[in-house]
Symmetry: C2
């Protein structure tokens, strides 16, 4: 039971930023987005990816690799349409 909740949380935490990336690129409206928050989140996801690679945890690697791509796209949108 705990495991299912953990997997669900991990999956949700990866896909939840897709609507934000979509909104930023489709509306070109990023005025409400905090660049500091998204850069810190980019660093967070990178650290989790490095941690996953170091301890060889595949779910952690996969989830954070996908999240990294999505968060990079949000940061790029924020830098382009500021």
């Amino acid at each position: 039971m705990e495991l299912y909740i953990g997997y669900l949380a991990g999956t949700m935490g990866t896909i939840c930023w897709i609507p934000q990336a979509w909104r930023a690129w489709s509306t070109r409206d990023t005025s409400g987005l905090s660049l500091a928050a998204n850069l810190m989140f980019l660093l967070t996801v990178s650290l989790w990816l490095i941690y996953g690679l170091m301890v060889g945890d595949m779910p952690l690697i996969l989830a954070n690799f996908c999240a990294l791509l999505i968060v990079i796209s949000i940061v790029l949108a924020k830098l382009k349409y500021k």
Copy 2:
């Protein structure tokens, strides 16, 4: 070494949304924020908190309890200033 990176990632992942919450409440500009993304993230953090409580992991409980408060404040700002 891995442990330090894990703790750093966990701490950064909790505090990184403070600038976003601050920006939303101080500028009242939430037009660029995706409500769907933030609601899904709220669910993610809630699931991690439940998971932490179930497995009795104190760092997970503390980090996600703090994150929950910050994300709730972002969602409330989005609902108030949409």
